[in-house]
């Protein structure tokens, strides 16, 4: 088990009921994440993944329970202290949430806002050292040549990479990602997931990433946390798990270079099936069985 000096996030008995909601989005969630861990949150849509992530950087306040992040009780923080915590916590959104009319470079620079006083308008209002740093991060995500382009002229995958560069600009200790590839095509998805993994390894980041797709999660994370209706129903290391048979389709895609169109058709059909909720549910249930067998061993 993780001991206290390497604990980065500690959640205890977290419950959340949105104002006016009939049922709670989270109930009794407890979770401890150690430094450098790569955790995947799995669950159906509406199971509370986003809500959980938003509690870790204080975008939501708990109805009950506590969230301790980087040694600070998140719900007790306000003003500068809260901004400082958020500054140390990167957040990647499903819809990228970069500022479309601004240039790519300025979007990356906004990642440094927590360290700056007062509003900034235009690239030149940021110090040169930050601009160099931002360009370095853009280079890291492979978009240096797009620095001065309007951000909304980029493809989805590129926009998400800009968002990653913006998070890097924060020099974060934790990276939270909320379904980072749910709006992307398979090609860009794997690029973005690989990029997050590499960056986490380079910087020893702690990553908590929610995902919709079981097949991506399996090969990617160190640990899987399953959420169902706001409760943790699974918490296990991925190396105990076997890949599902449905994942073979993806294996073929990765190796096939000749029958691209045929594979693409197959792929999109397979993805549609995969995304249908039944399959996800059964996959999750099978994961649950795995946990049982894992415990038995």
């Amino acid at each position: 088990m993780t001991n206290s000096d390497t604990t980065v996030v500690r959640i205890e008995g977290l419950g959340k009921t949105y104002p006016g909601a009939a049922f709670s989005a989270l109930t009794g969630v407890s979770l401890t994440v150690g430094r450098g861990e790569i955790v995947v949150l799995l669950g159906l849509s509406g199971s509370g993944k986003s809500t959980l992530l938003r509690h870790i950087n204080g975008l939501e306040t708990p109805t009950e329970g506590t969230v301790v992040s980087l040694g600070r009780d998140v719900s007790s923080l306000t003003g500068r202290a809260l901004r400082e915590l958020r500054g140390q916590t990167g957040f990647i959104f499903q819809q990228f949430e970069i500022v479309g009319p601004l240039t790519v470079l300025e979007n990356v620079l906004t990642g440094a806002l927590a360290t700056l006083r007062g509003p900034r308008i235009g690239i030149l209002t940021y110090p040169k050292s930050l601009r160099l740093k931002a360009l370095g991060h853009l280079d890291r995500v492979g978009l240096l040549d797009r620095a001065y382009q309007r951000a909304d002229t980029l493809s989805g995958g590129q926009q998400q990479r800009v968002a990653i560069a913006r998070a890097l600009m924060q020099d974060p200790e934790i990276l939270l990602a909320d379904e980072p590839v749910a709006s992307l095509d398979p090609e860009s998805s794997s690029q973005v997931m690989a990029l997050i993994r590499e960056i986490a390894a380079e910087r020893g980041l702690t990553v908590i990433c929610s995902l919709h797709q079981v097949e991506i999660a399996l090969g990617w994370g160190d640990r899987i946390v399953g959420l169902r209706a706001g409760e943790v129903v699974l918490d296990t290391r991925t190396d105990n798990l076997t890949r599902e048979q449905v994942m073979e389709i993806y294996g073929r895609v990765a190796t096939s270079t000749t029958e691209i169109t045929a594979v693409e058709v197959e792929l999109s059909q397979a993805r549609e099936e995969l995304l249908s909720e039944e399959i996800q549910r059964s996959a999750l249930e099978r994961l649950g069985e795995n946990r049982v067998t894992g415990e038995a061993q």
Partner: protein, 606 residues
């Protein structure tokens, strides 16, 4: 026989669904507009006798106003032996032309400076008024109230007010008047734009640890900026037309020149029509420029034939040669570090050149406007004689508001006159637009020649500032309310006919095709399909026109069309500030009532 009765019985038994709220509202509004319009017509007395008098006055005016005297020329009249007068137009040198150019420039400078001032003032007001950025509901109510009051207070009133409290302040009154009044419209549209921004990027700025101010400037402003600029340009357009009225109360510029010309006998009258034509030309030119800019801001790429584009292309070509992009191979050789270093300098792409040129030109024009207008800003703090207004020992002080010697009945009668002008104008505009509008729609007009003719008609009418026409009408005919309503009515055609044409063209054309296919004639298709489908949109436009006309009718009172505006300007020139306040409150209430009614109707139409 029995079969037939059975059928009749079944037909009678068919349930009539209750008409939808939007249908009921639509027809209620149409009937109300027609009914009130007719009532106003009767009230305003368009009798044959007054029409005759109008004709007489008009020909007398034309007699005095011709031959036209353009700047640079002088018209000399010599009385002949037989009693007639012959006119001779002589060149008197270019000085009057330069003077006119100066007048045009000062007009533009006041409009631009005032609108720029309003655009800046609108940012905090919009920030406070928008639901998603306002700090709290108290601030929101205050900011929205500022917007409503600014919209309802005519700029003319502000101008007179400034001129009275700060004597002899030159252009200051005009700039402040435009600046404050325009905050109403710009802040409202800006707040709407802010409420429509994508919340996601803002949330992202919040989660990197940005402050509230940083959230606003980095997450919201970039998204709302195009709307802000577009509204400001549009407002500048409206303000340019409005300066004519400001001239009537003494703000320098084309309006004042026109007012002077109209009040200095035949010698002046001959200058009036040329001034009006110059005003129209400037308005048209300004509108073309601002609509081009707006089209560009809405993402339409320039065709590349304009002067700006040519300049931009020339500059780009040169810098492109200097900073040739690295080829892929070179790129791999070059150390990443140097690549990053060199990326620090933003390349001068065509886009950047165009944007930078645009920004600097815009800034230069605004700075020029402030310098050229040369307002005595310091006077605002040093020379004010506010005691004239708030000294409780004087009976003309601002508080408490009172109607002075007038009774509630007088005020009500004035309100009725103002409303009658607005209703009559709306009816005139609607009737004419009911012909011009449909015929300017592609799917209604029998052929493109007809369509283009009526589109063009609407365009020309829209380009002509209706207030200018109204002033000329009122002075030329000697009949206030009737002439005002007529001018506003015709002016409204420009707006309404275009909106009608657009709405008809937007109607889905499936049903039209179906009706044509069963052999419906053009007019049958129009009445059976196109018209019914666009009724809600048409009614919404109608309400918009009515709203505009109430505002304009109030203003027209100031130049002699009577009504509440007339009472207001009277007490202003008599410096009865308590009355000014009372009438302002009445006007604000009137505008609020009309705006709320319009909002309710629009909501019911959905």
């Amino acid at each position: 026989m029995t079969a037939l009765t059975a059928l009749t019985a079944r037909i009678a038994a068919i349930e009539h669904p209750r008409p939808r709220a939007s249908t009921v509202t639509s027809y209620a509004v149409i009937i109300a507009v027609i009914g009130l319009g007719v009532w106003s017509f009767i009230g305003l007395d368009y009798s044959l006798k007054s029409l005759e008098a109008t004709g007489r006055n008009l020909s007398r005016f034309l007699g005095m106003a011709t031959p036209l005297q353009w700047p640079g020329w002088e018209v000399l009249g010599t009385r002949q032996a037989d009693g007639t007068t012959t006119y001779e137009t002589v060149w008197v040198g270019p000085e009057p032309i330069w003077a006119m150019v100066g007048t045009v420039l000062i007009t533009l400078a006041i409009v631009i400076a005032g609108t720029a001032l309003a655009a800046v003032l609108s940012i905090p007001v919009a920030y406070g008024a928008a639901r998603n950025t306002t700090p709290n509901s108290v601030v929101m109510v205050i900011c929205r109230a500022i917007g409503v009051i600014a919209r309802a207070t005519p700029d003319v009133v502000i101008a007179v007010f400034v001129a009275l409290v700060w004597f002899n302040t030159g252009t200051l009154g005009g700039i402040v008047a435009i600046g404050l009044h325009s905050v109403g419209m710009i802040s409202k549209m800006m707040a709407d734009a802010i409420e429509q921004v994508d919340e996601g990027p803002r949330l992202a700025i919040r989660s990197v640890g940005g402050s509230k101010a940083q959230e606003f400037w980095s997450g919201v402003v970039p998204q709302a900026l195009p709307a802000w600029i577009a509204v400001t340009l549009h407002r500048a357009d409206i303000n340019l037309r409005g300066t004519v009225l400001l001239g009537v109360v003494g703000v320098v510029g084309l309006g004042l020149e026109l007012d002077l010309a109209l009040h200095t006998g035949p010698a002046g009258m001959r200058k009036a029509i040329p001034i009006v034509l110059i005003i129209i030309a400037i308005c048209v030119a300004f509108e073309i420029v601002s609509s081009q800019l707006r089209a560009k801001l809405l993402g339409v790429r320039p065709t590349g034939k304009g002067l700006g584009d040519t300049v931009a292309r020339a500059v780009t070509r040169r810098s492109a040669a200097a900073a040739a992009p690295l080829s892929a191979q070179q790129q791999t050789v070059v150390d990443r570090h140097t690549a990053i270093e060199s990326a620090l300098h933003r390349p001068w792409t065509k886009n950047r050149v165009v944007t930078s040129l645009g920004i600097w030109l815009g800034v230069a024009i605004v700075v020029w406007a402030f310098l050229y207008a040369d307002a005595r800003w310091l006077a605002l703090v040093t020379e004010g004689s506010l005691h004239l207004i708030i000294d409780p020992t004087r009976d003309r002080m601002l508080w408490p508001p009172s109607f002075g010697s007038r009774t509630w009945n007088d005020v009500l009668a004035a309100i009725v006159t103002t409303l009658q002008i607005a209703f009559a104008a709306t009816l005139i505009g609607t009737v004419i637009s009911a012909v011009v509008g449909p015929l300017s729609a592609r799917n209604v007009a029998p052929n493109s020649a007809v369509r283009n003719f009526f589109r063009g008609t609407a365009l020309v009418i829209r380009a002509i500032p209706d207030l200018v026409v109204a002033i000329i009408f009122i002075i030329a005919t000697g009949f206030g309310p009737q002439a005002g309503a007529l001018a506003l009515g015709i002016g409204g055609v420009g707006l309404l006919a275009k909106l009608i044409g657009d709405s008809l063209e937007e109607v889905p054309n499936g049903p039209e095709k179906a009706l044509s296919a069963v052999g419906g004639s053009r007019s049958q298709v129009f009445f059976a399909s196109t018209l019914p489908m666009s009724v809600p949109a048409l009614v919404a436009h109608l309400m918009y026109l009515l709203e505009q006309n109430v505002r304009s009718a109030t203003l027209l009172g100031i130049v002699g069309a009577g009504g509440i505006g007339f009472l207001l300007i009277n007490s202003l020139s008599g410096r009865h500030f308590d009355e000014v306040l009372a009438y302002l409150i009445v006007i604000i209430a009137l505008v609020l009532v009309i705006e709320s009614a319009s909002m309710l109707v629009r909501r019911a139409l959905k």
